[in-house]
């Protein structure tokens, strides 16, 4: 989920929490997305090695699980930076200068949209609407929603 915040480097790989999560949620109707969300949140991403475990526990093929993980923008394949800035580049935010803001953020974080800075400090990503379109431009910074955002405010938030 978008609320995942990862201050510490991702914990070393350990299959046990994956099994625990899958065990706990597999009784739901349609359990795969809830399981992937829980893992994405707990680890900060969905590790390759989690896929066969989940597949096995849900009686799916590994390819099926892989296909689901790759379909959805939320599921990360690698850990994110310590701060995640998801900036809206949909139409309402465009009308209030989202493209300019993205350019400024790229500069001030030293990163290209869609990537993590080399020091692992910030991941900058595009999203398409956060439901804050009357207070554009908007972004989610470490899971917190901001409206009427400018580069200085975003920088201050990430420096906290």
């Amino acid at each position: 989920m978008t609320t995942a915040i990862h201050k510490a480097p991702a914990a070393a790989w350990n299959p046990d929490p994956v099994r625990e999560v899958a065990e706990r949620l597999k009784g739901l109707d349609g359990p795969l997305l809830p399981i992937l969300h829980a893992i994405n949140e707990q680890f900060g991403y969905v590790d390759e090695r989690a896929l066969p475990i989940i597949a096995d526990m849900l009686n799916l093929t590994r390819a099926e699980v892989q296909g689901v993980v790759s379909f959805y923008h939320d599921f990360r394949r690698a850990p994110a930076g310590r701060h995640v800035v998801k900036v809206c580049r949909a139409e309402a935010c465009q009308s209030m200068g989202a493209e300019r803001l993205i350019g400024e953020l790229e500069k001030s974080f030293g990163v290209t949209l869609g990537e993590t800075s080399t020091d692992g400090r910030v991941t900058l990503e595009a999203v398409y609407c956060l439901g804050n379109c009357a207070l554009s431009p908007a972004a989610l910074i470490d899971g917190k929603l901001f409206g009427r955002l400018d580069a200085a405010k975003a920088q201050a938030q990430v420096s906290k």
Binding site: H37, F71, M96, Y128, C133
Partner: protein
């Protein structure tokens, strides 16, 4: 008497500092030792005024707009003067609305079932519990309610199909994927009056014989997800949900499911795939979800606003609801005014309001102070409108006649610095990013289209490339399984048709 003070706990209000303001108010109350109580509400939808703080008074609630932490002490020193907006209910933007669905939003504590009831909540459900399923459905049909998610299909007719289907299990699925840029009404409602959606879903369940509901909420809405989860827990605890709805013989329960960042999952069959734990790929219709929906069972799938309109229809009667509106667009529409606009927010009015009234009278023109050049209505698949069409009334049929759609009711304003060729390019880029991958024109043609627009913007064979884009739009329209590919031509062609000067090949240089 205890002084009541209200601060919204709505994601938009929080995004501009409402939490800090609420904390400062709590601290000020403590510091002054006042007999005062802070209540967190949803938002009134006067979003340009957020954080909007309200003080109860014998005449009504007095509002203070755009409050920041530094303003807080002054609110207590001279409540009558310091930046007061006067009575909130008298602010023209709000006073000139017809709030049926959003009647309580911003007024009550969203998680107080007691307040919900004392402000008219559960009346519709109580009526429904005394009626047959068929009678409930006929009320909804008679009200004229049409789907607020985009397609505008009559809600009652859909329910009839599900009611008539024979199955031991049926489902109610609420579509809260709200992916359209410029829209936020579903979010505001789930955060500001979640019991209304719950009530609407229970009524739908009773009407068609479904005992289980799911709300599919996009992951971009963490605050709404949290509120809905808490509201469901409270409703369960108080016997509104569960094996004996309001102590009677009906049973209904529901849960929240979270999307994973895919616009296409707002399309109903893709949403069902996603709920079942698969890639959100669109299913061919038939079979209709009403006959073979979630887990192959008959399923009602409706937008948040469609379901949230139902309690009012049951409580006040079909005729009451139907009396609002024009033509075949009955009832009220929560219009969401967004983008480059001075007063953005939620405007719930009977159908028939003109775009000009929305943009000028409510919106007050652009935020930048420059002239309005274009508005996009109905989300990323909706048309761009030029100012000479602003007298068009908000009505499904009139919009369709002018090659537009009202969709989920989003209106996004652009000033005269907008480059419409870029907007057309973005529509195609968005289609490429969000395509589920089933149809070739949508998956690949969209990227070709974006590249062709780049060429046009660079002045390369403008006439030939423009013809190519138009051809591609035809292919998209005719060769797509769903409206993502099928309607992407709307923003592209409307930009081309209404703003041809931006496609003359020099726009890039001119804008930069």
């Amino acid at each position: 008497m205890t002084q009541l003070i209200y601060v919204p706990d709505d994601a938009a209000a929080l995004s501009v500092g409402a939490e800090d303001v609420a904390q400062a108010i709590a601290a000020e109350i403590a510091r002054r030792g006042l007999d005062a109580k802070l209540i967190r509400t949803g938002s009134r939808g006067l979003l340009w005024l957020e954080p909007l703080v309200e003080f109860a008074s014998p005449k009504g609630r007095i509002g203070y707009g755009s409050v920041n932490v530094a303003d807080v002490p002054a609110l207590f020193e001279d409540p009558a003067h310091s930046g007061s907006l006067g009575l909130v209910e008298e602010i023209p933007y709000l006073k000139n609305q017809q709030r049926l669905t959003f009647a309580r939003c911003g007024i009550t504590d969203p998680l107080s079932l007691q307040e919900y009831e004392s402000h008219g909540g559960l009346k519709g459900l109580r009526r429904a519990l005394e009626m047959t399923g068929t009678d409930i459905i006929e009320q909804v049909v008679d009200s004229g309610l049409r789907g607020r998610g985009g397609a505008g299909f009559p809600t009652g007719i859909k329910w009839r199909t599900v009611a008539a289907a024979m199955a031991e299990q049926k489902y109610i699925v609420c579509n809260a994927d709200e992916g359209d840029s410029g829209t936020f009404a579903d979010r505001m409602l789930m955060e500001g009056d979640p019991f209304l959606l719950i009530e609407g879903m229970i009524i739908a369940g009773i009407a068609v014989g479904a005992t289980k509901g799911f709300v599919y909420i996009r992951s971009e809405y963490p605050h709404a997800i949290a509120k809905m989860n808490r509201a469901i827990a409270i409703a369960r605890e108080d016997g509104v949900l569960g094996s004996a709805v309001l102590g009677g013989g009906k049973c209904f329960d529901m849960e929240i499911r979270i999307g994973a960042g895919a616009y296409i999952c707002g399309e109903e069959t893709s949403l069902l795939e996603s709920l079942e734990g698969r890639r959100g790929q669109v299913r061919p219709k038939p079979p209709l979800p009403a006959i073979e929906g979630l887990f192959g069972k008959p399923t009602v799938i409706n937008n948040v606003l469609s379901l949230a309109a139902v309690p009012t229809i049951l409580a006040e009667g079909a005729a009451f609801y139907r009396d609002f509106g024009m033509g075949r667009s009955r009832g009220t529409m929560p219009v969401q005014l967004a983008g480059n606009v001075r007063r953005g927010g939620l405007i719930e009015r009977a159908f028939g309001l003109s775009l000009r009234e929305i943009i000028e009278e409510y919106g007050g023109g652009t935020a930048s102070g420059r002239p309005v050049r274009a508005v996009q209505v109905g989300g990323p698949l909706g048309s761009y409108w030029p100012s000479h069409l602003f007298d068009t009334p908000f009505d499904y049929e009139t919009f369709a006649e002018k090659s537009g759609m009202i969709g989920h009711g989003g209106v996004v304003v652009f000033d005269d610095t907008v480059n419409m060729a870029k907007q057309a390019r973005f529509a195609l880029e968005f289609c490429a990013i969000e395509s589920c991958g089933k149809c070739t024109p949508c998956r690949i043609g969209s990227t070709r289209g974006a590249e062709t627009l780049d060429k046009i913007m660079q002045g390369e064979n403008v006439a030939g490339n423009t013809a190519l884009v138009r051809d591609l739009c035809e292919v998209l329209r005719d060769g797509s399984l769903c409206a993502l590919g099928g309607l992407t031509p709307m923003p592209v062609l409307s930009a081309l048709d209404h703003f041809p000067e931006d496609f003359a090949g020099k726009t890039l240089a001119a804008a930069e």
